[in-house]
Symmetry: C2
Subunit: 376 residues, 2 copies
Amino acid sequence: MLMSDRPPMRSGGIISKYGDYLPEIDPAAAVTLGEGQTPLVEARAVSEAVAAGVCVYLKCEGLNPTGSFKDRGMAFAVSRAREAGYRVAMCASTGNTAASAAAYCARAGMRCVVVIPEAAIAAGKLAQAVAHGAVVVAVRGNFDQALAIVRDMVERHRIALLNSLNPDRIEGQKTAAFEVCDQLGGRAPDHLAIPVGNAGNITAYWKGFREYKEQGKVSSMPIMLGFQAAGAAPIVVGHPIERPETVATAIRIGNPASWAKAVAARDESGGLVESVTDEEILDACRLLAAREGVLVEPASAASVAGVLKLARRGYFRERSGASRRQDAVIVCVLTGHGLKDPDAMMRLGSGPLVAEADTASVEATLVAAGTPLDGR
Amino acid sequence: MLMSDRPPMRSGGIISKYGDYLPEIDPAAAVTLGEGQTPLVEARAVSEAVAAGVCVYLKCEGLNPTGSFKDRGMAFAVSRAREAGYRVAMCASTGNTAASAAAYCARAGMRCVVVIPEAAIAAGKLAQAVAHGAVVVAVRGNFDQALAIVRDMVERHRIALLNSLNPDRIEGQKTAAFEVCDQLGGRAPDHLAIPVGNAGNITAYWKGFREYKEQGKVSSMPIMLGFQAAGAAPIVVGHPIERPETVATAIRIGNPASWAKAVAARDESGGLVESVTDEEILDACRLLAAREGVLVEPASAASVAGVLKLARRGYFRERSGASRRQDAVIVCVLTGHGLKDPDAMMRLGSGPLVAEADTASVEATLVAAGTPLDGR
C-alpha cells in the first residue's frame, strides 16, 4: 500500500511526529489512529478562581482517538508488540486502557484480552472494548488484582503486556509533555497538574520534560503536582489501599504500579502529590462543563480540583508575585472525555423538561421552569 | 487577559486557522474549544473491500471537542452571536447539535436552550447538553417538529438560532473541506462520501471545496456521495418522510432544512444521494470498529456503508481503471464518535465474561470461551 504516488498524510500520530525521541521502530509496523495533537485551551474561569497573575491551560487528552490519554502510549506499545511478532496482547484496566488497547489491537490485527474489575468501570469504556472485538473478562475483584492476574499470564504465555509496566507505554506517553512545551511556544509550564492512578502518566510526563530539557528544547522543567482521589490515595497516605473507592473510577487504584517513579517525579521537580475528595472532583467537573465548555470524566477533573485546592491555601499566590515578569503558567492534564462516563455527566445538571410538540407548550414549559428568553 | 507576554497558543481552532476564508469577526468575540485539525486516517480494510486502485481515508470528525463535526460550525455561529450581543441561543437537535451548542454557549457565557425529540436521542448526547448547563426541552414529536418550534421562537424573541439554517454554521463547517484538501497535500479527494440528515454538512463541504477551487488552493473538486438511512431518506424518495425511523438517530430527519442545497451539491459535482439500510450501517460500524480500530456512532457509518454498497455494483471499478496514474482517493466523513451512543456500541460485540479474581479462573474462563492464548 505504500505507493510513492500516495498523497502525503498529515495525521501520522505520535510516532511520525516524535519518532526522533522514541526507541527505533520499523515504520511498516507502526500503528496509528491519529493520536496526539490534542488542544491546549485557555481556562479563564479556572484562572480567575486560582489567583491573579496565573494562567491555567487545559490539555484536552480526551480528544485522542479513543477518548483518553492512553492512546499515545498504546500506539507505541502495540506498534512494538506487532514488530516483535506478538499475536495476542493483554491488559488490566479500569476502562480507558481497555478501550485503547482494544482499538489499537483491532487496527494492528492482534487479538486483545482485557481484565477489568467487575461493575466498577464506566459504561462508555466497556462499550468501546466490546465493540472493538476485545475479549473482556470481568473479575470479582479490584484493579490491583486484575493487574496481578495479567502479570502472571504474560509470564506463562506468549502475550504482549499492554499495561504501563511495559516501558513502551511510557515512551509513547511522554510525547504529551513534548507537545505541551511545543504548544506553549517552546517552553515548559511552571506547574503541571495531573491525576494520579496507576502513576504511569505522571512518570511519562516527567520523563518527557526531562528529555526535552536535556535536548535543549526547553530551558526549564515544571513543578509536578499530582492528585489522587481521597478514597484511593495510597501515595498520599504512604501505604496501599485495599478497597479503593471513588467516583473517579479511572484512578480507583490502591497500589500504583509506578509508585516509586511518581514519588521521584514529585521530589525531583519540587512538587507534591496530594488528594482531593469526590465532592471537590465533581465540583471541578461542573466548573469545567458549565464555564469552560469542556466535558471530562471525573478522574480528569482531579487535576483542576487539586489546583483549586492549592490556590485556596495560597500556594500559587506565593509563587506568582508582582516580581515575576509574566504570568505563571499552569497546565492541567484532562485525561479522559466526559462521554466515557455518561452517568456521571447526567448528574452534573438537570434532566430534560417535557413539552408537547408546539411552540406555545414549549414557551409555557420554559416560563414555568424560570428560564428567561429575553437575555436577562 | 490578552497580555503581550502570554505564550503563543497552537490550538486556536477553525477561526484562527481559516479566518481568511470566513466572514470577518472581532477576534475578542471568538470562542474556541480547539475544534478542527481532526485526523484523516487510512482505512486499509475498507479500501480492500472496495476495489483495487482505490484508497479510502476516514475523516474522524468525532474527535472534535464535543465528539461530533458540529463543533466547527458551532464555534463560528456562537462567536458571531456573541459578537452581535445575543445572550440566549436556541437549537433543535437529534443530539449532536445540542451537545455542541451547549458546550460553546457555556464557554461564551450565553444561555442555551435545546429542543429535542423525546426518547430518540443517544444517551451520551443528552448527558452532554445537561452537563453543560443547557435547558433541555424534550417534545413529544420528531426533529422536524422541534425545528419548526425553534424557528418560530427565534422570530418572537431575541434569541440566536444555532441550527444550520444559520449561515454562520455553514461557514464554520466548510473548513472541514479545506482541511481534507490540506491533509491530502493540497488536492481534493476524487470522491467525498458523507451521511445526510438535515443536509447542512454536505452543503458546507461542497461550499468549502468550491471556494478552495476558486482560490486556486486545489485544482479539482470531488464527486459528492451523500447517504441517507433507508427509513429516513426523503431526498432519495423525493418527498418528506413523516415518521423517519433508523438506528442512526443523528440522521433521523424526514424533511431536511438544506434539501435543495444537498441536491445542488449532488448535481453540480456529478454525484448521487442514495440510501443504506440500518443493517448495512451497523455492518459498516462493525467493520470500522473491528478492523480499522475506529469507533463511530451509527449515523457516521452511513458514509462507509454507502461506499461499500456502490463498490458492490462496480461504481468505483469503472472510475479507477488501469488508465489512472494513481489510486482514486475516497474520503469518508465520520461525523460522530461511538462514545455518543454506548448502547449501539455494546451491540457490536459480545458482553464480558465473568471470572473469579485469580489467574486459574481467568485462564479457565478464556479457554472455555474458545480464546486461544498462544497466538493461533
